[in-house]
């Protein structure tokens, strides 16, 4: 018999499991520059439109996407910004004119003949929350033609039903789980912290005296990235230099290139011996991501990594899902043997950080889906993360958090049903109430299109529900389960 909550629907199907409908609202503003619309359609502006699409994921879960689109024509300031020379400058100038709230999008339509976008490019996605689209010829029905484009861009910059399904992979069994679902941390990030140590492994201190300015590199490159993600979780960063840390694998010498090679199938065995030397995982209760920069010993220099086809890997680095990444840094040795040992090595932190940040993005689940050639994606620059990529992460995380909370609380309820005399302490009860209130608020905020508030509420809900579920007083053993009682009387 179905019954309804306030917002978002909850129903109970025949098996008694709750089914959940996620209602996700994306506020979009579509701004038409002068000359992009025919006069007839120009007169209709400004107006607002709402389109809903429901995607059932399985019998118990479905996602309703609402695009609340507000169409208007460009203001004078926006026209001035769009008249600038390059699209990057326009993007920077338009930023203060947008609402900029988490989860919202602004799409600018420019006339077909405009030279703002380079030739052959019809969509430019900036590093904040806006996109510039070259409109179709102003003669025909521009609005309808633009709508399809807007929907595609909105899906790229916020979420698709597939990405939501991937976030819900606990409730929605997927056939072939791709690598994308296995790599990122799941709601373990909801525990609040992650620790990111960076290491340099120097197995040959006699030959190499490795110096790396890690503090400046972290301040300059890693900290901005983590600051952007500080909304999601707290991070701590450490660093250490590890001497005499050997790889567990002996590299092969390749005569053709007179270098040493590590083949792709020996890479999994590199990590374990190194990990035994890293002390970090023993100290922290929170998930840890390790990044190791390995300077190969002189006898094994230069060392390159081969991929499965035998080609050399350009970055000379590899990563392992939920563990971290390793990069091999080759040092140029002067040809003459008179060079005094140890050779001082100043690590080029920019090169190293480029790889580490790329690995960090992958390990957080921020990846680029393939787009048609006419799309132009702006490089996020030194921050490492575009604002809309953060939004994508937040959409997926919020939905995942809500699903986790519902599973946890349902499971807790089943436990209480099974053991009739279990005692629920007051603080456990208050955590449960708080979790339920927060998750209801999260659903409301999602339906209203306020992504920031929805994510906060979902994070609180997860924290409360985990605290309630894992409370040490809820061990079923303490309450004499029924199967133990009969033994007394036999």
């Amino acid at each position: 018999m179905p019954f309804m909550w306030h917002q978002g629907h909850a129903c109970q199907d025949s098996s008694g499991d709750f089914c959940v409908t996620f209602q996700l609202t994306v506020p979009i503003a579509v701004v038409f520059a002068k000359g992009s619309l025919p006069a007839a359609q120009q007169r209709r502006l400004p107006f607002a439109d709402t389109r809903e699409e429901e995607t059932p994921l399985n019998l118990r879960t479905s996602v309703t996407t609402r695009y609340e689109t507000a169409y208007r024509s460009a203001t004078g300031q926006e026209e001035a910004a769009l008249a600038l020379g390059t699209v990057q400058e326009a993007d920077a100038a338009l930023l203060p004119l947008q609402s900029g709230s988490l989860g919202s999008l602004t799409i600018y339509i420019i006339p077909e003949g405009s030279s703002l976008l380079p030739q052959g490019v019809s969509v430019y996605i900036g590093k904040h929350r806006s996109a510039v689209v070259r409109g179709p010829p102003a003669a025909g029905d521009v609005l309808t033609a633009v709508n399809a484009r807007v929907r595609h861009i909105a899906q790229t910059m916020s979420f698709t039903p597939d990405s939501i399904a991937a976030a819900l992979s606990d409730r929605v069994p997927l056939g072939n789980l791709g690598l994308d679902t296995r790599r990122p941390f799941k709601s373990s990030l909801g525990r609040g912290c992650a620790c990111l140590p960076g290491w340099v492994g120097n197995p040959d201190p006699k030959s190499h005296d490795v110096r790396w300015d890690i503090e400046a590199a972290v301040r300059g490159y890693v900290q901005p990235f983590l600051d952007k993600l500080s909304f999601v979780a707290n991070f701590t960063v450490d660093s250490q230099i590890l001497y005499y840390a050997m790889l567990g694998v002996t590299p092969r010498f390749d005569r053709n290139s007179s270098s040493f090679l590590l083949s792709a199938h020996s890479l999994p065995h590199v990590i374990n011996p190194v990990e035994a030397r890293l002390g970090s995982s023993a100290a922290s209760l929170f998930p840890v991501l390790n990044f190791l920069l390995y300077v190969p010993e002189r006898a094994h220099s230069p060392l390159y990594i081969q991929d499965r086809d035998g080609a050399l890997v350009r970055t000379n680095a590899f990563h392992s899902p939920r563990w971290g990444g390793i990069m091999v840094y080759n040092v140029k040795h002067p040809a003459a043997d008179e060079a005094p040992l140890p050779l001082r090595v100043d690590v080029d932190m920019v090169r190293v950080m480029e790889v580490f940040l790329a690995q960090l993005r992958l390990l957080f689940g921020i990846s680029r889906a393939p787009l048609p050639g006419e799309f132009l994606l702006e490089n996020p620059g030194n921050a490492g993360l575009a604002a809309w990529e953060l939004d994508r992460l937040l959409w997926a995380r919020t939905v995942e958090n809500v699903a986790t909370v519902s599973t946890t609380l349902t499971s807790l309820a089943e436990l209480l049903d099974k053991i009739g005399n279990i005692v629920i302490k007051d603080d456990v009860a208050s955590e449960v109430y708080r979790a339920v209130a927060s998750v209801q608020q999260a659903m409301e905020e999602l339906a209203a299109g306020r992504l920031g508030a929805a994510f906060q509420a979902s994070k609180e809900a997860v924290t409360s529900s985990e605290r309630a579920f894992f409370d040490s007083s809820l061990l079923h053993l303490l309450y004499f389960p029924d199967d133990q009682k009969f033994a007394i009387y036999i």
């Binding site: 970055t315 563990w323 950080m353 690995q359 499971s411 199967d483």
Partner: protein, 382 residues
């Protein structure tokens, strides 16, 4: 002058065919990213030496194949190595004639002696641990962890004895696994038990992704092996002994699968009939590698992308520096007043007015004086 590179994404046919090949490979492989092991020896006392040796031998194999100590929860009574009856103190041997010392000097026991109780065991599994528990005593697995559980000791039909004072039933164990599954605390779980009537312990499991092996069926006893006349007890149990011989052949890159593990220790060697249960497990045991559970082989991907960074754009010290908290240099408090104990002159004690006893004594003396010599002398005092 900032130059920002722009990337164009263009799908290529080679990338697609690689992806498809990868997908096919991944479909048959396990989806785990880390490994944990929970090794429990439920017996204490000297005559149960073999149970401790069993557990320590499995611990050694698991460490050799790559699982680090931080991912192993080892529960032992740990009263063998320093037992007063041990002719070779600080050792625990697993082969007769004292060939192999499995105790050594780098064994990390997480729960020892009286901490090995049913309650602690269930707390470790379900995660309902008091917040003060140190990290080494926790099972911090997640939804992509493969867990190996090994239990040994004395058991019966449907129960396992813990330290001669309590029992865990198969229903409780099954419920604990279900609680683990509800919170997705494991991806796949391999449960091995070496006790008498061991197969009864896995009869009641009902959570998915569990594979179970036992050393004997209901009604049979698991027998011990390796009697050593020098130490005076049996050093190992048969099933574990042959499993360890099997594991000696395994190295981190080996492709041996679970079907081979099921064949270990046939009735001719083991006298009992080992059993196994795979109906709850989703993958075919043929495709399950031994190292999926006993070792820690990581999934690895080549990093092909980089982010382009511009060193000129680095914002240096843009954030306000945190306020310096002035701390005074701390020094150690004086532990002993050495100066007073040894030669120096004694400390001047502060003057206190005389207490009640002294006052009373003086009053008594004055009264006796006046009693003796007469009251008329009092006027000289006052």
């Amino acid at each position: 002058m900032q130059v920002e590179l722009q990337c164009r994404s263009r799908p290529s046919t080679e990338a697609i065919s690689h992806d498809r090949q990868d997908q096919v490979e991944q479909f048959f492989k396990s989806g785990h990213t880390n490994n944990w092991a929970v090794l429990v020896c439920t017996s204490r006392f000297w005559f149960n030496y073999r149970h401790v040796a069993n557990t320590l031998s499995v611990y050694r194999s698991v460490k050799r194949l790559g699982i680090p100590d931080s991912h192993i929860v080892l529960m032992l009574a740990d009263d063998m190595a320093c037992n007063s009856r041990n002719p070779k103190p600080a050792t625990v041997f697993s082969h007769k004639n004292m060939e192999l010392n499995v105790y050594g000097d780098d064994v990390e026991v997480d729960y020892r002696s009286y901490e090995v109780t049913v309650e602690n065991f269930l707390r470790v599994l379900t995660g309902r641990i008091p917040p003060s528990t140190p990290r080494s005593k926790r099972l911090l697995s997640d939804d992509k962890s493969n867990i190996l559980m090994y239990m040994t000791g004395h058991g019966g039909n449907g129960f396992l004895k813990f330290q001669d004072s309590e029992e865990i039933t198969n229903v409780e164990l099954a419920d604990a696994f279900e609680q683990m599954w509800q919170k997705r605390r494991y991806n796949e779980l391999l449960f091995i038990i070496d006790t008498c009537q061991g197969a009864s312990m896995y009869e009641r499991f009902y959570s998915p992704n569990i594979m179970a092996l036992a050393s004997s069926q209901v009604g049979e006893d698991s027998l011990s092996h390796q009697p050593d006349l020098g130490i005076g007890v049996h050093l190992m149990d048969r099933y574990t002994f042959y499993v360890l011989e099997f594991l000696e052949e395994i190295h981190p890159a080996s492709q041996t699968n679970m079907n081979d593990l099921f064949q270990v220790c046939p009735k001719s060697l083991c006298v009992s009939t080992p059993g196994h249960r795979t109906d709850l497990f989703q993958r075919d045991p043929q495709n399950v590698l031994i190292t999926d559970f006993f070792g820690s082989v990581r999934k690895v991907e080549i990093t092909t992308e980089t982010i382009s960074l511009d060193p000129n754009l680095v914002i240096l010290e843009s954030r306000t520096p945190k306020d310096e908290i002035t701390t005074e240099a701390l020094k150690y408090a004086e532990q002993l007043p050495v100066a007073q104990i040894i030669h120096q002159k004694p400390k001047q004690k502060d003057w206190h007015p005389p207490g009640g006893f002294i006052l009373g004594l003086w009053a008594l003396i004055i009264m006796v004086f006046f009693k003796t010599y007469g009251i008329k002398h009092m006027k000289h005092i006052f």
